[in-house]
Symmetry: D2
Subunit: 315 residues, 4 copies
C-alpha cells in the first residue's frame, strides 16, 4: 500500500468520544485535551458524532456544541468529518445542514434506521444527502449491528462509481464482503476504503484498505499509527504484533458486560480508559447509557496498564 494523495480520509481516523461533564453537557477542557492527544498520537482526521461519539443519542443543541467545538479546537490541522446518521432522511438532513454551517470537511451517514429499509430506500437516502451536501464528500457507514441492515455491495459499488459517496466505513465485520469491495474499488479516484474494526485493522490493510476508523484509537492513537506505518512499509509482522497488542487491549470493552449493554460497555470503557490516562475528566454517558462501575473501571485500568499505556504527560 502507498499513501494516496487523492483521499481526504486515509490512515488512522479517530472516531472521538464526546467528553461530558457530570451534568452531561460538553466538557470543553477535556475535549481540547482529547483533540490534542489524538493529533499528537498521529491520527490523520477526526470523526465526530459517530457511534463512539454518542452522536445518535444527542439532541440538536448538543450536536451543535460538539461540531462547533471540534472546528474551533482542530484549527484546520486535520480534516473533520461529522456523523449525521439519523432515523429518517429528513432528520439526517437537519444534521447535515448544521454541520455544513459549522464548516466541516466531510459527512458520514448510515442508512436510515427504525425497522429495515430496502435497497432502493438506502440508495435514495444517500442520493438525497449527497445533493444537499453542496460538494462536501459523503461517506457511507455500514454498521448492521446498530442499523439492522447491511448496505448491499451492489449499492455501495453503484454509489461509489457515480460519485455519490466518496468512501465507506465498513463496520460490518464481514471480511468477505469487504474484500469484494476492495477488489472492485481499489484505486477508484478519490474513494476511501476504510475499516471500522479495531480488532482486525491489520488484515484490512493487508486487503488494501486505505485506513481505519477505529474506536480504540481514542485510547491508543499511537499504537494505531505505528501499525499503519508498519503496513505502509510492508512490515506485516510488525503490523500484526501491534494489532495483537491492541486486540488484547480491546478486552476493556467487555469489563461492563453483561451488566450494561455492549454499547455502554464499549463507549464507557473508552471514556474510563481516557480518564485513567488523564486525558478526559469524567466518564459520564448520555442517557440511557450506563457508566461502568468502580470494579469494572479498575479492570479497565489494569488492562490499560498491561498494554503498556500509562498516564499521558501534561502538555
Amino acid at each position: 500500500m502507498t499513501v494516496r494523495r487523492d483521499l481526504l480520509l486515509s490512515g488512522v481516523i479517530s472516531p472521538v468520544v464526546t467528553p461530558l461533564c457530570k451534568d452531561r453537557s460538553l466538557d470543553q477542557a477535556s475535549f481540547e485535551r482529547l483533540v490534542e492527544f489524538e493529533l499528537e498520537g498521529g491520527v490523520s482526521a477526526l470523526f465526530v458524532l459517530g457511534t463512539g461519539g454518542e452522536g445518535p443519542y444527542l439532541d440538536m443543541s448538543q450536536r451543535e456544541d460538539v461540531v462547533a467545538s471540534a472546528v474551533k479546537l482542530v484549527r484546520g490541522r486535520v480534516p473533520i468529518v461529522v456523523g449525521i446518521s439519523d432515523i429518517g432522511t429528513a432528520r439526517a438532513l437537519r444534521n447535515l445542514e448544521l454541520s455544513l454551517a459549522a464548516g466541516v470537511d466531510g459527512l458520514v451517514s448510515t442508512p436510515p434506521f427504525y425497522g429495515e429499509v430496502s435497497e432502493a430506500e438506502i440508495d435514495l437516502h444517500f442520493r438525497t444527502l449527497a445533493q444537499a451536501a453542496k460538494g462536501l464528500p459523503l461517506y457511507a457507514y455500514d454498521i448492521p449491528s446498530k442499523v439492522g441492515v447491511k448496505i448491499p455491495v451492489t449499492t455501495t459499488l453503484r454509489l461509489a462509481h457515480e460519485g455519490v459517496i466518496r468512501g465507506i466505513k465498513d463496520s460490518s465485520g464481514d471480511m468477505d464482503e469487504f474484500r469484494r469491495l476492495c477488489l472492485a474499488l481499489a484505486g477508484l479516484d478519490g474513494f476511501s476504503l476504510l475499516t471500522g474494526s479495531d480488532s482486525s485493522a491489520d488484515m484490512a490493510l493487508f486487503e488494501q484498505a486505505d485506513g481505519m476508523i477505529a474506536g480504540m484509537a481514542n485510547v491508543d492513537p499511537h499504537g494505531f499509527a505505528r501499525m499503519y506505518r508498519a503496513a505502509l512499509s510492508k512490515d506485516w509482522a510488525a503490523a500484526r504484533t501491534e494489532q495483537d497488542r491492541l486486540f488484547s487491549l480491546r478486552d476493556i470493552t467487555r469489563a461492563g458486560l453483561p451488566r450494561v449493554s455492549s454499547f455502554s460497555a464499549t463507549i464507557g470503557s473508552f471514556k474510563a480508559a481516557l480518564v485513567h490516562r488523564g486525558v478526559i475528566e469524567c466518564d459520564a454517558l448520555q442517557l440511557p447509557l450506563c457508566e461502568l462501575d468502580d470494579r469494572e473501571k479498575s479492570v479497565v485500568a489494569d488492562l490499560v496498564e498491561r498494554a503498556g499505556l500509562g498516564p499521558v504527560a501534561p502538555a
Copy 2:
C-alpha cells in the same frame, strides 16, 4: 370483558397516519377528514406520531405541526396520545416536551434504539420520561421488529406495578408473552393492556386485553369497532368473523413487496387505501420511504373493495 372506567385507553385506538402533501408538508384538510372519519367510525382515542404516523421519520417542526393540528381538530372529543420514541433519552425528552406544551393526553414510547439496550437502560429510559411527563400517563410500546429488542416481561411488570407506565402497546407478535402480561396485570388499576396487532386482535381480546392500537383501523375503523363490540358482548364467533375479514384486508400491506421495504409497503398501503376511499388526498411518504406504484395501488383498491369498503360519503 367489560369496559373499565379507570382507563384512558381502551377499545379501538387508531394510530393515525400523517397525511402529507406532495411536497411532504402536512396536508391539513386531509388530516381533518381523517380525524372525522376515525371518530365517526367509532375509535375511542387517537395515537399520533406512532410508527404508522411516520413519527420517528419527522423532524421537530413537522412533529410540532402534527401534534398541534391533532389537538385542534379533535377538540377534546377523544383522548390524544403522542409517540415520542427516539434514539436516545435526550431526544425522546425533546419530543415529550413538545407534546406536553401542545396539551395532549398521554405519551407513548418504545425503548431507545440504535443497537441493543440492556434491561437496566430500558428501565432508566422509562423512568426518566415518566418523571418529565408531569403526571401525564406514559405507555410503553413494545415493537422489537423496529427497535431490535423486546421489553422483558419482568421490566414491564415492575414499571406497571410502580406506576411508571400506565399501559403497554404490544406489537411483539409474541402471544405467549402477552398472555403472561394479561395473567399478571389483569385488573391493575388504571393500566391498559393493548395489542398492536391488527391481525389477531380478536385473540388478544379473548385473552382479556383492554383494546387494540391497530394500524388497519386507519382504513376500516368501523370494522374494528364492530369486532370490539362483539367481544364486549362475548359474541366470539362474530368477533372472529369480523377479524377474519380484516385479516384478508391486511393483504394490502403486501402489495408493495418486495419492491419496497415492509415499512413502506405497510404505511404506503394504508395511505393508498385512504386515498381510494376518498379520505385523504395524497399517498406521499416521508423520505426515504417509497410510495406504492400504480399497479400496486390498484391491487390495494381491489382488496379494499373486496372487503366491502367503498368510498366514504362526503360529510
Copy 3:
C-alpha cells in the same frame, strides 16, 4: 368447531416422551404406564419419536425399540403417528421404512435440516417421503426454532391441496401464518390443522384448528382434554380458564434455565413431572441432553402440585 370424522388426527394428540432407564435404554414398564396414563387422560392419538420423544437424538435400534413398543402397548386403541424427521431425505426414508414395517398409522416429518433449505427442496422432501409412504398419511411438522426455516405457507397449501400431506403440526409460534392456513384450508377433506403450542392451544381452537399436539399433554392429558371439550361445546371462557392453568404449569419448562439448554429444560421438566406424578421411573435423557438437578426438580414438583396435579393412583 365440530369433530370431523374424516380426520385421523384431531383433538388432543400426545407427543409422548421416551422413558429411559438410567443406562438410556428404553424403560418398557414406564412406557406402558405412560401410554395407559395418556389414554385414560383422554388423548385421541399418540405421536412417538417427535421432538418431545427425543426422536432426532436416537439411533436406529433405539428408534426401532420405541416404535415396536408403542404399537404393542397401544393395541390399536388410538392411532399412532411416528416422527421420521432427519437431516436429509435419505435418512428420513430409513426412518420411514422402519415405521412402515412396524405397522403404525401415520408419519410426521419436519423439512430436512443442517443449514437452510430452499422452498423447492422442502417440496421435494415431502413428495419423496409421501411416495414412499404407501398410502400412510404424512404430516408436515413446522418447527423453525429447531429446523432453522419455516415452511412457507404457499408450500403447505400446495402440498395440502395435492394430497401430499394430510395435515400440519404448527409449532412456529406465528399465529398470523397459522390463521392464514386455517382460513385457506378449513374443511379440506381429510386435512388436519394442528397446533404444536401448549400455551395458546385455546386460541388455535378458537381459530378453527382441529386439535393440538402439545408437549405438556404428557404431564396433564386430562387438562388438555377438558379444554378441548370446552372448545367443542363453545364454552370459550372455560377453555381459556383451563389454558390459563396449563399456561402457569408451563413454568416447569423454565426451571432448568439457563443452566441447561431450553431443549433439555423442556423435555427434562416433562420427565421430572412424570416421575413426580408416579408415571415413569426415571428422568434420564439422551446424550448430550442434561437432566434437571435436584433443586430444579423440586421447583417442578411444586409447580405440578400448585397446578392441582397430584400423584397418579396406581391402575
Copy 4:
C-alpha cells in the same frame, strides 16, 4: 509461520465431495480420480463426510461405503479424517465406530444440532466422543451457519488444554474470535488451528493458523497449495494475489442462487466445476439437495475458465 511436525493436520486439507452416480450411489471411478487429483494438487490430508462431502445427508450404508473407499484409495499417502457430526451424541457415536473400524486417522465433529445446545452439552458431547475414539485425534468443527450455535471460545480453550480435542476447523466467519483462539493456542503441542474459509485463508495464515480446510480446494487444490507455500515463505503479496484469484473463483457458489439453497448452490457448483474439469463424471447430489441447471452450470464453467483452470490432463 513454519511447518510443525507435531501436527496431523496442517497446510491444505481438502474436504472432498462425495461423487455420486445418477442413482446416487457412490461413483467409485470418479472418487478415485478425485483423490488422485487432490493428492497431485498438493493437499496434505483428506476430510471425508464433511459438509462438502454431504456427510450429514448420507445414511449409514452410504457412509460406510465412502469411508472404506477413501481408505482403500488413499493407501496411507496422506491422513484421512472423517466427519462424524450428527444430531445427537448417540448417533455421532455410531458414525465414530464405523470410522474407527475402517482405519482412519482422525475424527471431526460439530456440536450436536436440532435446536440449540448449551455450553455444558457441547462440552459433554466432545468428551463423550473423545473417550470413545480410543486415542484417535478428535477435531471440533465450528460452523454456526449449519449448527445454529457457535462453540464458545472458552469451551474450545478448555477442551484444547485438556487434550480432548486436537484441533479446530473454524467455519464461523468470525475473524475476531479466531484471532482470540490463535493468540491463546498458538504453539499448543499437537493442536491444529485450521480455518474453514476458502475466501480469507490468506488472512487466517497471516493470523498464524496452521492450515485450512477449504471447500474450494476440491476444484483448485493447486491454487491453495501455492497460497500456502507463499505464506510459509512469508511472501504475503503472493499469498494475497493467489487468494484474490480464488476469491473470484468462489463466485461459482452463487450461480445457483436463489433458485436453490446456498448449500445446494455451493456443493452443486463444486461438483459442476469438477465435471467441467474432467475429474468426476456426474454432479448428482443427495436428496433433497438440487443440482445446478444447465444455464447455471455454464456460468460455473465460464468462471472456472476465467480463473485459469482448464480440463485436467488424464493421468
